[in-house]
């Protein structure tokens, strides 16, 4: 027999009360842990997701929207920039690199980013961390007659089950399935040539295609709409297929369309300026070795801002502002969760205090047997702290599940990829606080136990 055995036996005797009070602590601990971990994980994910571009240009309505859409795939940008505008911007400063991007298509709910193939050489998803291919290789521009290529992010590969050699069709818009949303670009299939290793950024859930192939898809739609495609088709039909198609379809296209005859297809040669639309321009300025912020960054930023037809954003700066805004809100949530923890401690106090009347005889017997007042009070405090510790452990388990849910929600809705592990420091801090608060809550019942009148409590009942 030991003091701890007495404590455990006492908790077991009040099983229901113990479980309920521990659960209230667990919920508070889980809330706090999820919020604290999300805060640090989201901050980390946002900071990582900025990549190594110094500036990002779009035609969106605000710098923050530009960053959220362009780097975190929150939503496809609504207004495009023309290639002429992009060429104009490229010329205003000797950038280290400038990469045009286009968004708007998707595959099974995973966003597609159309890029220049140099993207994988120049752009880094997190600063200082180049792309790593888990399987396959980067994109190369398809020559006439060759199939289009796609590289799949790690989460997208997990979500879709895509592997090297698969053929896919992109969906226009951000539809989550072929059936429910958006027009499917059935005319062109893409071969999976690479699967990326996880980067811990929103890019993990994206698919990457050559921007020229994306232009061709949409040019094809335009040509279908304005009738120029069918006109070509008819011309080909009249020629009885006697000569080579002006825009020879790829072998893959012919396969896709096996309707008994080959449709006219669109190629790069059919592109007009209006087809070459861009939704973002990633810019990196030359910087001295060892410096992360180029001296000319602010100057170039200010220069670009004067152009009212574009929106320019410094990703790092916008992320910092976003975290400040979010910080105020999650501070409120943290306060509420802390209030729940305090409430749960009060519940422990009430449960123990209410139980004191029924335990008066037990306490008196222990006193008669030689337990001091302090030791009795210690037993009650240990009980209280034990409920706190039990709640903290349960809360930790609940927070693991909560974080998994929150991570998948954030990834789907905001495009932020966060780690699902509970922050160890937060776990120690919150669990410690829960136990300390529970012990504090035990002070009043412990005092009542301390003051229990021994002889009066031992009198026979009735």
């Amino acid at each position: 027999m030991s003091d701890l055995a007495i404590v455990l036996r006492s908790l077991r005797a009040r099983r229901l009360s113990t479980i309920i009070t521990a659960l209230t602590v667990a919920i508070a601990v889980a809330l706090l842990l999820v919020l604290l971990t999300l805060r640090s994980a989201a901050a980390l994910a946002f900071n990582r997701g900025g990549g190594n571009a110094h500036l990002l240009v779009s035609a969106d309505s605000s710098p923050l929207t530009t960053v959220l859409n362009g780097l975190f795939y929150a939503a496809p940008p609504q207004r495009p920039l023309t290639l002429a505008k992009i060429d104009e911007l490229r010329a205003i400063f000797p950038f280290e690199w400038a990469i045009a991007t286009q968004q708007g298509d998707s595959y099974r709910g995973n966003p597609t980013l159309a890029i220049d193939p140099v993207y994988f050489e120049k752009f880094q998803p997190a600063a200082g961390e180049p792309w790593v291919f888990r399987d396959g290789r980067a994109l190369k521009r398809a020559a006439k007659g060759e199939a289009f290529e796609v590289v799949v992010g790690s989460t997208a590969a997990l979500n879709t089950g895509l592997t090297i050699g698969d053929h896919i069709h992109l969906t226009h818009g951000s539809g989550s399935s072929r059936e429910d949303h958006g027009h499917v670009h059935d005319e062109y299939s893409f071969d999976v040539v690479g699967v990326l290793a996880p980067t811990g950024t929103a890019h993990d859930r994206a698919l990457f295609v050559d921007i020229e192939s994306s232009w061709i898809l949409h040019a094809h739609d335009r040509r279908e709409r304005d009738g120029s495609l069918h006109k070509d088709d008819e011309e080909h039909a009249h020629d009885d297929h006697a000569h080579d198609h002006e825009h020879e379809p790829s072998a893959d296209d012919a396969h896709d369309h096996g309707h008994g005859h080959a449709h006219a297809m669109t190629t790069a040669a059919d592109l007009i300026d209006d087809d070459r639309l861009v939704t973002g321009l990633l810019l990196r300025l030359p910087a001295r070795a060892g410096s992360t912020t180029p001296a000319a960054l602010q100057q170039v930023h200010d220069m670009l801002r004067r152009d009212t037809t574009i929106m320019v954003a410094q990703p790092a700066e916008e992320i910092r502002k976003l975290l400040n805004i979010v910080g105020n809100i999650d501070g409120l949530f943290l306060t509420m969760a802390a209030a729940v923890l305090v409430s749960s401690s009060i519940a422990i106090m009430l449960a123990l205090y209410d139980g004191m009347a029924a335990r008066r005889r037990q306490i008196a017997v222990l006193r008669v047997l030689g337990f001091s007042r302090g030791r009795i009070a210690g037993l009650v405090l240990t009980e209280s702290a034990f409920i706190g510790a039990l709640g903290a452990l349960l809360g930790l388990a609940i927070s693991f599940a909560g974080l998994r849910f929150a991570a998948s929600f954030l990834e789907a809705k905001v495009g932020v990829v966060i780690a699902t592990g509970v922050d160890a420091r937060a776990a120690v801090l919150v669990a410690g606080a829960a136990v300390a608060l529970a012990a504090l809550a035990g002070c009043l019942p412990a005092f009542a136990a301390y003051r229990t009148p021994v002889w009066r409590s031992l009198r026979p009942l009735g």
Partner: protein, 244 residues
């Protein structure tokens, strides 16, 4: 050898108490001198509310006298305070109650072990002593919850708990009041034998006149009660019918 219990100049008073023994509500217990030798057994007899339990509480150090001293095995319990007094009580005094006051939710063995836990005995010592005592007292299912035992068995567990720490003195407060006469007789026999075997003196209180025959020494409690209107004190008797 020091006496198992030695009381000198003890004064204790309740004011406006149900246990009062005069019209003003005042109750006084005065013991100029009382001694209980090692292994000696004494019965404090008297009606309910006569001060017997108060005397036991004073001897156990659960109430503080106005003045005077109480020594157990030569050590003054009235001179001790707080945790030291509690520890001393656990080590040197065993207690048996009318309703046993066993701890529910614990087994018979654990009820005995807890008495030794309070005094710092190791787990191994607790276990071996509790097992030995319960076996001697005929408790076969030592690990069964105490609520599953009969009243007679619970009484035996209470006796085992009282003598577990090999005390100098066992205090028994109306130990047979809840038992039917045959069971009470068996229980008293067991209690007295156990105290003798373990070397403890026994101070028993009872309002039951039948109990007087079981003790060599009987002290009427009213002998020690003082106050306006209190009945004239009776004389202590020995087995031979003499006065002490």
């Amino acid at each position: 050898m020091p006496a198992a219990l030695e009381i000198n100049g003890l004064r204790f008073a309740y004011r406006n108490s149900a246990a009062s023994n005069d019209a003003s509500g005042r109750f006084e217990l005065n013991i100029d001198r009382f001694e209980l030798a090692e292994r000696e057994q004494v019965l404090f007899a008297g009606p309910s509310g006569g001060g017997k339990s108060t005397l036991l509480a004073l001897v156990a150090g659960l109430l503080d006298p106005v003045s005077g001293s109480i020594r157990i095995g030569g050590d003054s319990i009235t001179g001790m305070r707080g945790a030291a007094r509690d520890l001393f009580r656990g080590r040197r005094i065993g207690m048996i109650f009318q309703t046993f006051n066993l701890l529910h939710g614990f087994s018979a063995r654990e009820n005995v072990e807890i008495a030794m836990l309070a005094t710092g005995a190791s787990r191994r010592d607790q276990r071996s002593r509790a097992t030995e005592l319960l076996k001697d007292l005929g408790i076969a299912r030592a690990d069964a919850p105490i609520d599953e035992f009969s009243v007679g068995q619970q009484q035996r567990v209470a006796v085992a708990r009282a003598i577990a720490c090999r005390p100098a003195l066992v205090l028994a407060d109306e130990p047979t009041a809840s038992l039917d006469p045959p069971t009470a007789a068996t229980a008293m026999e067991l209690m007295q034998r156990c105290c003798r075997d373990s070397g403890a003196a026994l101070l028993c209180t009872s309002h039951d006149p039948e109990m007087r025959t079981r003790f060599d020494r009987v002290e009427p409690i009213d002998r020690f009660v003082r106050g306006p209107g209190a009945p004239p004190p009776a004389q202590a008797t020995t087995a031979a019918g003499g006065h002490r």
